[in-house]
């Protein structure tokens, strides 16, 4: 197939599906899921045909969008191995999450809205991946934000969903503020926002790199990938349906920030890269700590996503975009698996989300349990699972470049294994801790199939040598770099030993500390102050809500008062009052007596004389 047609098809099939579902309306919303699934299958087939045909060459197309004067704005596709890798991941994960949603959302009243939103999200996400210039990236960037908003707010009658969706959109807008300004300044710096053209310009003259512009651009990444201090929206976003969390808030949209970084790599000055490396490492640890104080299975996974995004950011900042992309891909599969597993558990437990009210699920849901554990092992980086390969690469590379960060990241791996162990031991083993968990039973085949497929991917997707040729060029390049590092063998050995120790310690430690299927959080019981500190999450949310409720609100109320009372009331009304008073005053001068007028006449003469003589 002609690559242009295939790319157009890939981008517009989901949009078309979404429009058709909307037009069918609520009465025929049963067709919605089927349309969405057919669209995802079509998308996957087109992607496969594109990947199998293209032999490593980048494909580009671009069109003029509009023009004012001499300034042209364009839309276009850039399809190279980076976008191909992302596209392949999105197509596969998207299809299986859509299939899973069929079962998960089966008793939902607003299926049409859900699947239309899901398809629209796929469209927007693919737009980011295929865009060849930053303005187009921004357009779709905002659109993913919008679809995420609509999907988080799916249960719109719920107060939690209302607040969470609003928060997600506004916090992202804060990031987009900087991103937009960065794009505009880039536009005037290079005369274009075309990604390849910029790379070429920077290649010719490295002095065009501007730290300030880079700092603005990465605001977009900080917002979308939920990095500190704009991370607050992601845990709250778990108020949306679980498949949404899996697709948008784990596998794809939050990874778009990392993808953006990889795309604008050349624009980022060394200082910015260092900043990203430290920021990522900080988030990797910080989110890991936060996860220990969460009881909601989805929120634990959300913090885990945050921390893994921190890993990607950190290794990107250390100069290995390919390894960041590698971890992005493996993470997408195992985190989607974990979320879908959580979804299956929540579905089986009738929307119970607290892990301390589950327990003993392995007996009732064996397949789900096995899949979830596979996801957990992949996340912990256990040898042989996909997460091992990418995390191993991250650790080796960081050891080679910045040893302090290496130790932080290893410690992060220990934390990861710890909170995942806490989750698994509590929710799946021991005895059922609530009526709902007691009545749980294995989910249907249409929900198990995606779990099984994603579990298989979670094991094998790390073997990047076996990927289709069109994918992963950047990844292999970076992996080659670390393989040729000085003392690679000894570093590798050290990393494997430390990494394995980390996950073994984490899983065992959490087993010993929390026990199997416990009813309550033992950390909370034994060390309430530590727990309270972790639960506080550095009180970022509190600081923000203080700002919003106290400062921002009083400023806007004050200005409103100013507007109504001072501007309208006193100035405008007062102005008209002044005119009225002047009228009254002038009327008093016209008393109708000759002598009064003659006195005024003399005054006027005096006045004119003074003016004319220049005294006044």
């Amino acid at each position: 197939m002609d690559p242009l047609n295939a790319l157009l098809g890939i981008l517009f099939i989901p949009l078309l599906a979404s429009l058709v579902i909307v037009l069918l309306g609520s009465k025929r919303s049963k067709a919605g899921p089927l349309i969405a699934i057919f669209a995802s299958i079509g998308l996957l087939l087109l992607t496969l045909s594109l990947i199998s045909n293209e032999i490593g060459e980048a494909v580009r197309f671009s069109w003029e969008w509009f023009r004012f004067g001499d300034h042209t704005f364009e839309l276009g596709f850039l399809f190279d191995n980076i976008s191909a890798t992302m596209l392949a991941m999105i197509a596969v994960v998207g299809l299986f999450i859509t299939i899973f949603s069929l079962g998960y959302m089966s008793d939902d009243q607003a299926k049409g809205r859900f699947f239309a939103g899901l398809s629209f999200f796929m469209f927007s996400m693919l737009g980011i991946v295929l865009a060849d210039n930053l303005i187009m990236v921004f357009v779709f960037w905002e659109l993913v934000g919008f679809s995420s908003y609509m999907l988080i707010g799916h249960y719109f009658q719920n107060e939690e969903a209302k607040l969470a969706s609003k928060k997600a959109f506004i916090v992202n807008r804060i990031g987009d503020f900087g991103f937009l300004l960065g794009i505009l300044l880039t536009f005037w710096q290079f005369g274009t926002t075309n990604i390849e053209a910029i790379a070429m310009a920077v290649g010719m003259d490295a002095s065009t790199i501007n730290t300030f512009i880079g700092a603005l651009l990465i605001c977009g990444f900080i917002g979308k990938s939920a990095q500190f201090p704009l991370h607050v929206w992601l845990p709250d976003a778990m108020a949306g349906p679980t498949p949404v969390s899996a697709l948008i808030h784990a596998a794809t949209m939050v990874a778009a920030g990392i993808y953006l970084l990889i795309r604008i790599d050349v624009l980022l000055a060394p200082r910015i890269l260092t900043f990203i490396a430290y920021l990522g490492a900080f988030v990797a640890l910080f989110a890991g700590f936060c996860a220990y104080a969460q009881n909601d299975i989805k929120r634990i996974l959300a913090y885990s996503t945050l921390s893994q995004l921190g890993y990607m950011a950190s290794i990107f900042g250390l100069g290995f975009p390919g390894i960041a992309l590698f971890h992005l891909i493996t993470h997408a599969f195992f985190k989607a698996l974990l979320f879908l597993g959580a979804g299956a558990v929540i579905h089986a437990c009738h929307h119970e989300q607290s892990i301390f009210k589950m327990g003993g699920l392995y007996k009732k849901m064996p397949t789900t349990t096995v899949c979830f554990i596979i996801g957990t092992l992949a996340l912990c980086g256990v040898y042989g699972f996909s997460g091992f390969y990418s995390k191993d690469a991250i650790l080796i590379a960081s050891y080679g470049v910045q040893v302090e960060l290496f130790y932080v990241l290893v410690f992060g791996a220990l934390m990861t294994a710890g909170y995942m162990g806490r989750l698994v031991w509590t929710a799946f083993f021991g005895k059922a801790n609530s009526e709902k968990a007691l009545q749980a039973h294995e989910v249907g085949f249409n929900m198990l199939l995606p779990l099984i497929v994603l579990a298989i991917f979670s094991i094998f997707v790390g073997l990047n040598h076996y990927w289709p040729f069109a994918l992963g060029g950047t990844i292999s390049a970076d992996l080659d770099t670390i393989h040729h590092m000085d003392g690679y063998k000894s570093i590798h050995k050290l990393v494997v030993i430390l990494g394995s120790t980390a996950w073994i310690l984490g899983l065992l430690g959490s087993l010993l500390f929390y026990g199997l299927g416990n009813k309550e959080d033992l950390l909370q019981k034994r060390a309430p102050s530590v727990f309270a500190f972790l639960k506080g999450r550095l009180w970022i949310d509190e600081i923000y809500s203080y700002y919003v409720n106290k400062i921002q609100r009083s400023v806007s109320n004050f200005l409103n008062f100013f507007d109504v009372v001072i501007l309208r009331g006193i100035l405008i009304r007062g102005g008209s009052g002044l005119v009225g008073a002047l009228g009254v005053g002038l009327r008093m001068l016209h008393v109708g007596k000759l002598n009064a007028y003659s006195i005024w006449f003399l005054f006027a003469l005096l006045f004119i004389y003074l003016v004319a003589s220049g005294t006044l």
């Binding site: 609520s26 004067g69 209302k162 987009d176 503020f177 300004l181 200005l559």
Partner: protein, 517 residues
């Protein structure tokens, strides 16, 4: 032929409107509906027909020119109509919003509906005239022609305190109009041209430029006069009260189209004809424009009444347009043009939807609303999309307008702080926009305890069609901006292309001066 059609877009709604006022209301209830529908459909069809007839290959300048003597030849006043790339989009905007507003009014169950429709049609006729006038006298005349019906409509069908508000609005807007009239007459008189034709004026000014002082004085009159009409800070206080009191179709036409008169006057007349005056006043354009965005933006956040919130937000968005004008570039002017059309469509849509929402909740107070998503799913979708359009979601025209204006500001190193402050607007608008969605659409329906009690009360066809028309137009422009930008480009280059060079020279000489100092 085409020029006759252009003229008909003005007189057809006028004739139909006045005949509605004259025929007795007993003559069949259907007749008045058809008459008013025909009266607003005609300009719409003409506008789109002329859009496709408009040749973008030309050198720029007016097409479909229509010239008619009015007996005022000695003063140089002719009924001179025509469209160029800048007025064409606004002409289409007027026709589109007019169709939507009058169609919506047909089903509004207002008292004395015939009179209501008749006034709306007369207003529409004035609007079509304003944006197609080449003669400055008629440009002004048609504006007044459209303004007066809007006062009458507030007086008769307005909400609480309608007399006081209509009076305040009348005085305020007449003051603004008067200032700009003085400005226009001064321009006419100073230019030495013996006609009010914009073309003749610009030719005369090109031959004999005014001195900088005169230009800046005339520009001040036009800037503040027209600024009052566009609710420039701090002359905006008529807008929120006025729109809150106005009946919905009148608010749609006024906020959506009539208000654009002021910015259109600055864009098409004041800045191209008085570049030095505009440049002298540009710090004011920028400062007041920023006040519109930031101060009014924060005031918008404090609103609890849906209609007030929409009114304030529309005041806020005008700030971007002033900033776009202050860049004196083709890009900035193009952004302003896009924003004018986009804002006109979106604010009209929001006013219309707010009335539809009022019908479901019997209040405009957002704290007493909730659960519209359950009560009226389709209306909720429209409302969400309309808010998203107005806060600048890509895919809708508003985004492009704002984006292009930001891009134009970003060009100038010296305006960097303006860029940063004005872009705060995208966060501010997201906050109040999403708050309103949260309060109106989300949550459980008020006054119902269980889900079964909720009575579905979704949009009727007469609400859906105009909403679709407005939303569809926003999306079409947002996705295919070429439709307008290609037609406008030549005129923008013609009016603003030279300015960029002039300004560069001015700033260069300023720099030299600074160096010499």
């Amino acid at each position: 032929m085409d020029s006759q059609l252009l003229f008909s877009a003005i007189w057809v709604p006028f004739i139909f409107g006045s005949s509605l006022a004259l025929i007795p209301s007993k003559v069949g209830s259907k007749a008045y509906k058809w008459i008013s529908l025909a009266g607003c459909l005609w300009p719409f069809l003409v506008a789109w027909y002329l859009f496709f007839q408009f040749e973008d290959g030309l050198q720029g300048g007016y097409q479909f020119e229509f010239l008619q003597s009015t007996g005022l030849d000695s003063l140089g006043i002719y009924l001179h109509l025509g469209l160029n790339g800048i007025s064409l989009p606004l002409f289409i905007l007027a026709a589109t919003v007019g169709l939507a507003a009058i169609f919506y009014a047909l089903h509004s169950h207002a008292d004395r509906i015939q009179l209501y429709l008749s006034l709306l049609l007369i207003m529409l006729s004035g609007l079509m005239g304003t944006f197609s006038s080449i003669d400055l006298f008629f440009f002004y005349f048609f504006h007044e022609f459209a303004l007066i019906p809007s006062f009458i409509m507030i007086m008769i069908w307005g909400g609480v305190a309608r007399y006081a508000i209509a009076l305040e609005m009348t005085i305020y807007l007449t003051l603004g109009a008067l200032l700009s009239l003085v400005g226009l007459i001064a321009l006419y008189q100073q230019s030495g041209a013996d006609t009010f034709s914009m073309l003749a004026l610009s030719n005369a000014l090109a031959e004999r430029p005014l001195t900088e002082t005169i230009e800046s004085n005339i520009f001040a009159l036009l800037f503040f006069g027209l600024g009052i009409l566009v609710s420039l800070f701090p002359f905006h206080s008529w807008a929120p009260k006025g729109y809150a009191a106005a009946p919905s179709s009148a608010a749609m036409l006024h906020a959506g189209v009539l208000k654009k008169f002021g910015l259109y006057g600055l864009l098409q007349i004041a800045i191209p004809l008085l570049p030095m005056g505009a440049f002298a006043w540009s710090p004011w354009l920028i400062t007041l424009g920023l006040c519109n965005i930031v101060i009014i933006g924060l005031v918008t956040m404090a609103q609890k009444d849906l209609k007030q919130m929409i009114s304030y937000s529309s005041v806020m968005h005008m700030g971007y347009a002033f900033l776009g004008l202050a860049t004196f570039s083709v890009l900035g002017a193009g952004g302003v043009l896009l924003l004018l059309v986009a804002h006109g469509l979106s604010v009209a849509l929001l006013f219309m939807l707010s009335t539809s929402i009022y019908k479901r909740f019997a209040t405009f107070d957002m704290s007493e609303m909730g659960g519209l998503g359950k009560i009226a799913p389709n209306l909720s979708v429209f409302f969400v999309l309309a808010i998203m359009a107005s806060i600048g979601l890509p895919g809708f025209a508003n985004f492009l307008g704002e984006f292009v204006i930001f891009a134009a500001i970003a060009e100038h190193e010296s305006l960097r702080w303006v860029l940063f402050v004005s872009a705060l607007g995208i966060m501010i608008s997201a906050i109040y926009g999403l708050r309103s969605i949260g309060n109106v659409v989300f949550g459980t329906p008020v006054k119902c305890n269980s889900e079964e009690e909720v009575e579905l009360n979704d949009m009727k066809m007469f609400e859906k069609l105009p909403a679709l028309l407005l939303l569809g137009s926003l999306m079409i422009i947002g996705i295919f901006p070429k439709l307008f930008s290609d037609k406008a480009n030549r005129d923008l280059m013609h009016l603003y292309g030279d300015q960029e060079m002039v300004l560069e020279e001015i700033s260069r000489s300023d720099e030299n001066q600074n160096l010499n100092d």
